[in-house]
Amino acid sequence: MITITINGKVCKCNEGEYILKVAQDNGIDIPNLCNDDSVAVYGACGLCQIEVLDDGHGKALPKLMRACATKAQDGYVVSYDTERVNRSRKVALELLMSDHDGDCVAPCHLNCPAGTDIQKYLKQISGGDYHGAVETIKEAFPIPASIGRVCPHPCEKNCRRANVEQPLSIAFLKAYAADKDLADGTYKPKCKADSGKKVAIVGGGPAGLTAAFFLRRSGHSVTVYDAMSKMGGMLRYGIPAYRLPKDILERECQEIKSLGVEFVNNCKIGKDVTLEQLQNDNDAVIVANGAWKSMNMRVEGEELEGVVGGIDFLRNISSGEGERPDLSGLTVAVCGGGNTAMDACRSAVRCGADKVYVVYRRTRDEMPAEDIEIEEAIEEGVDFKFLTNPAQIIGEGGKVKQMKLQVMQLGEPDASGRRSPVPVEGKFEYIDVDKVIMAIGQSIEASGFDALEKTRKGTIAADETTFMTSVDGVFAVGDATNRGASIAIEAIGEANKCAAVVDSYLAGNLTAYRKPFVSKRDVKDIDFSVYDKKDRIKMPARPAEERKRDFNEVYLGIGDEEKVQSEAKRCLECGCHDYGDCRLIKYANICEIDPARFAGVKNNNPVERKLVSIERNPNKCILCSLCVRVCDEVAGKGILGLVGRGFGTVIKPEFNDESVISACAQCGKCVEACPTGALKLLK
């Protein structure tokens, strides 16, 4: 036996053993992609480079060595992560990635702020496994029945199926699965053993609930404090019931509670309890109190009776708690073009208003609200005054009587690419109104959080990667922080990342969130003509005349199981089957690579199934040749071979299809050996 030292760890081994093997035997993962014990040493990938700092005689070796092919000698002191090694390894991985044409995860998944594994749950739905689908979703967030109804679904915007005909109806499929799950045999996630750590969460909205859910699952004891009487935050008090029935939201809140999360309602920070108290009583605090203040328009007449903020207007209406206002006989103007404006105008219709205007300074094309919301509002009789901007609210006896609107036109595109509105000099319009609802934006109610540093916008400043505020142990996420209000799934995404950070913080090892590197295909490189067209499923809605009279859900349910599964089957399965096991992406992330700097020509060869039950995608191949070598040296077949040389080298089975089929024993050893997702065993 001899002794060598690998990264400070003393390892006993036999003379002449390869250093990579010694490392593996000692639980040290020296990155490597082309090595396998069953075949001869090859040395192609170059990832297993090491620096021999001492050759046992006090001298360092001048060259970097490959651990797979360097034999251990007594007294060797080696390191696999010196700066020099890391540099070389990083470049190797960047080069590999620069010629790697595959999607690690599907584009829908990438565009979901919460990082939901959409491809996986769609597959589960297509097979009727709804509980499984919910289990998958709940790895990202806890309230799929609610979110499936209200989410503006950025996922669908990125759905590649749009290049065939239309994107999948991802959000509604999610709601369908979640409803099924709630109806019967609801999935109950397991929680880890109690950690003994306590976390207080301020705010029981989507972000707070999500953080509570994950931290509870990690074994911490969690209490959610909320100023309102029930949990749900804006989902309950902002979004009207015709979009999200409150019993569904309540069910999902109760599921979270059932894990052992404590809910404390009607508790306002700074009034009922102070932030300091929460800090003292807990090991960590997460502030997720949202943005509940309507922004002012800064026009003359705002103080008149009959002018209300959108959020304030919606609060009672949406929750169904207390009285809904009776607007019959009144004319209402809603100012703004976002989803809150749509919620407000449609709610106003439902409260019996005679006439409802939406005043918006750009045109419909520039409206930030979801198109379907605008469409449905128009169906319900809302009158859109595009290219107008409130100039003055004119009152009579202290009450709103009329609005003076500045007529606008579109100018040059601004930084966001939207054409910015400019006033048409001297041109005004007047509308008679009884009520003005300002839905132009939200800001935060910061009282009670004086100790936390704020941004220039007045939101709580939180670190983008640790979510920590200026106060140690106090974290903040969601609408209350940084850029301010956004959609629920954004807040949820921050909350699930924050939960992981807080978990690490509680373990005494604060680990910032790092966006993982993933390989992405360029949509230009994909041939969509190979897919048969199949229309997207339609969500049936109640007729406008009927639905505008009540707050019952607009939608009737996406359809029967057969239709749902067939919709799920439209999924192109863009993401790689091997993402979880892929060693290439694992090391790419460990080494923090940036392959874009070496972007260049990529090899492009057809995906083929000559080996019958094995699909081969050469565009994910890294030419480690393990499949070739295993087929030859282990299986004794030699069916696969390297063709060509240099950059264009490609691995192919021999050209005679019949003899391939007869020779291949379908043993799958090649698939097993493949370190990436280039080979796939077809079921």
Partner: protein, 584 residues
């Protein structure tokens, strides 16, 4: 009349220049005159080909740039004994100087003896060394003699020859192989081709001596398929040597036996790398493998093997005949003996140059080579091919020595010496070599397979005007990673042409990237042609010659080039007699 001898130089390039036709004319015209027209190999004065040597009673008339017409006159003059009439074809004193400044050991018989005749070789003292070795010396004595000579591998790496022989000799095993690497792949190098074509027996004799020293009974020559004439002459020579008993069983009646085979390569530069060469010899893809084990331990068919290149072997017989000390007397502290270079490019007198180590680059380029063609400005000399680098003017006094040349960032290499003038773009030069290595990369290891491709792409965008700020640094980083990470010598040295050009000609890179200009006016995307109306006389010649019809103008009035139509071929500048065409 029988005292008159005529030899026509018949190397590949001589033949390409028309030596075959010249010989045919001489043969026809001198038929029946009793004067035999013989052939010799390549003397190495390529710019003077075809060359005819006429010996008038031992006095040499070296006639140059002979063509079919002059060959008739030569035949007439020789058959009538009017040797004075030859004077107008004779080599000038200046050109003769090219040879006079050289010291020829490896090339000693090249262009002097008939390469297709073993007798010619024997008459020149051939196979004496072999006889001496096998009949009077032990293996160790041979190795010691080579050690004394200080001979280092002439293929590029410059590893001591004796050391490799000794390692192979010391390796246990009955069967050992002696291999000659004649896969001369460096573009711009043709020394080995010249030796095989001009003096194949020198190679055979050197190999036999090496085979004896290491204890090999089989010798293999791995020669490029692109050298058909070399293969033909070598085959012929092997047959002759076998016939004469120098190859085969019990050579010179001793226990030493050795068989020879030739294997033709099939077009892969990487096969110049020892382990790849072995894979190719075994009929496999020529992909290098990791060392150790070295070929001296496990080589061809897993047996101890020794590989040297052609020029190395070409020195062996001379060393045995003259003693290692005589060889070591030439050269520098680190580098002994002579070295052959293939001097090409923008040089007045290009060809084969053999000089003692220790001369300067200036000696070779300006002394022997006569300086730059058309007296343009010297810019750089490329040494070591795709593994080497470009040496700038300020380093022209660097002496030819393994260590000194490596210090410049270039390498001694196998002997390619390509001279560049002011019209050669150095970024383009780096791209040229990366085009080459990227094409020749075997594709096994990541650093080389993708790294050379990316370097080539970055260089391509720079010469095409798409260079970005940071590209130089990106190239440097990539180069250093490829140097560290590539599996074999090809990949590890592939960055050298890029690194040396960045080191010495960074300003040219910057001009391409920042100013979108090519200072050498070579990169087409970055230059523009225009006509100086003050100088243009309106002769219309340029307009007539322009293949793109981009030039217009009235007769006797200044012409103009339409930049939209111009394809930047440069024809106009070439034909203009008034220097009116400007390039920017």
């Amino acid at each position: 009349m029988s005292d008159t001898i005529i030899n026509v130089g018949q190397g590949s390039c001589g033949i390409a220049a028309g030596a075959g036709k010249v010989k045919k004319v001489l043969d026809e015209k001198l038929a029946g005159s009793g004067i035999n027209v013989g052939i010799v190999g390549c003397i190495g004065m390529c710019w003077l080909e075809p060359i005819v040597d006429v010996y008038e009673n031992g006095k040499l008339h070296r006639l140059v740039k002979v063509n079919e017409n002059s060959a008739e006159e030569i035949a007439a003059a020789v058959s009538s004994g009017d040797f004075a009439a030859l004077s107008k074809y004779e080599i000038t004193a200046d050109d003769k100087d090219f040879l006079d400044q050289q010291t020829r050991i490896a090339l000693r018989n090249c262009g002097v003896i008939d390469p297709e005749s073993i007798e010619a070789y024997i008459n020149a003292g051939g196979y004496k060394a072999l006889e001496k070795v096998v009949t009077t010396m032990t293996q160790q004595q041979v190795i010691d003699e080579i050690k004394t000579s200080g001979l280092a591998g002439r293929g590029g790496a410059g590893f001591p020859t004796w050391f490799k022989w000794n390692a192979a000799n010391q390796s246990a095993g009955e069967t050992k192989y002696l291999i000659c690497n004649a896969d001369e792949g460096d573009p711009g190098a043709f020394m080995d081709r010249a030796v095989i074509e001009s003096d194949p027996h020198t190679l055979i004799e050197g190999m036999l001596i090496a085979a004896y020293a290491i204890g090999a009974s089989e010798a293999v020559v791995y020669v490029r398929a692109e050298y058909p004439l070399a293969i033909v002459r070598l085959k012929k020579a092997i047959a002759q040597a076998k016939q004469a008993g120098y190859i085969g069983k019990n050579i010179f009646g001793t226990n030493f036996s050795c068989e020879f085979t030739i294997k033709a390569g099939a077009g892969a530069f990487v096969c110049g790398e020892e382990t790849a060469l072995i894979a190719s010899l075994e009929g496999e893809r020529g992909m290098p493998r990791l060392k150790p084990p070295f070929p001296a331990q496990k080589g061809y068919w897993q047996k101890p093997s020794n590989i040297n290149n052609v020029e190395t072997f070409a020195n062996i017989a001379w060393i045995i005949n003259n003693g290692g000390a005589a060889f070591a007397a030439m050269g520098t502290e680190n580098s002994k003996g002579t070295k052959v270079f293939a001097l090409t490019g923008k040089i007045k007198r290009g060809g084969l140059v053999e000089i003692p180590m220790g001369k300067t680059l200036r000696d070779v380029i300006f002394g022997i080579g006569g300086g730059i063609k058309e007296d343009k400005q010297f810019k750089a000399v490329q040494m070591g091919g795709p593994s080497g680098g470009c040496i700038p003017e300020q380093l022209l006094d660097t002496v030819i020595d393994y260590k000194e040349l490596s210090a410049t960032g270039a390498i001694m290499g196998s002997g390619g010496m390509v001279v560049m003038d002011e019209t050669t773009c150095m970024v383009g030069m780096a791209k040229f070599f990366l085009d080459f290595t990227a094409k020749e990369s075997c594709g096994k290891c990541v650093h080389c397979r993708i790294g050379t491709k990316r370097m080539q792409e970055i260089l391509t965008r720079i010469v095409e005007g798409g260079g970005k700020e940071g590209d130089i640094e990106l190239l440097e980083e990539l180069c250093s990673a490829v140097k560290e990470g590539a599996l074999c010598g090809l990949g590890q040295t592939a960055p050298n042409p890029v690194l040396t050009t960045i080191k010495y000609f960074r300003n040219e890179y910057e001009a391409h990237i920042n100013d979108k200009k090519c200072p050498a006016h070579e990169c087409r995307e970055l230059i523009s042609y225009s006509i100086d109306s003050d100088k243009c006389r309106g002769c219309t010649l340029c307009a007539k010659k322009c293949p793109a019809k981009a030039i217009s103008g009235e007769v006797k009035a200044p012409h103009a080039i339409d930049p939209e139509v111009c394809i930047k071929c440069g024809q106009c500048a070439t034909v203009c007699r008034f220097g009116a065409v400007k390039v920017d």
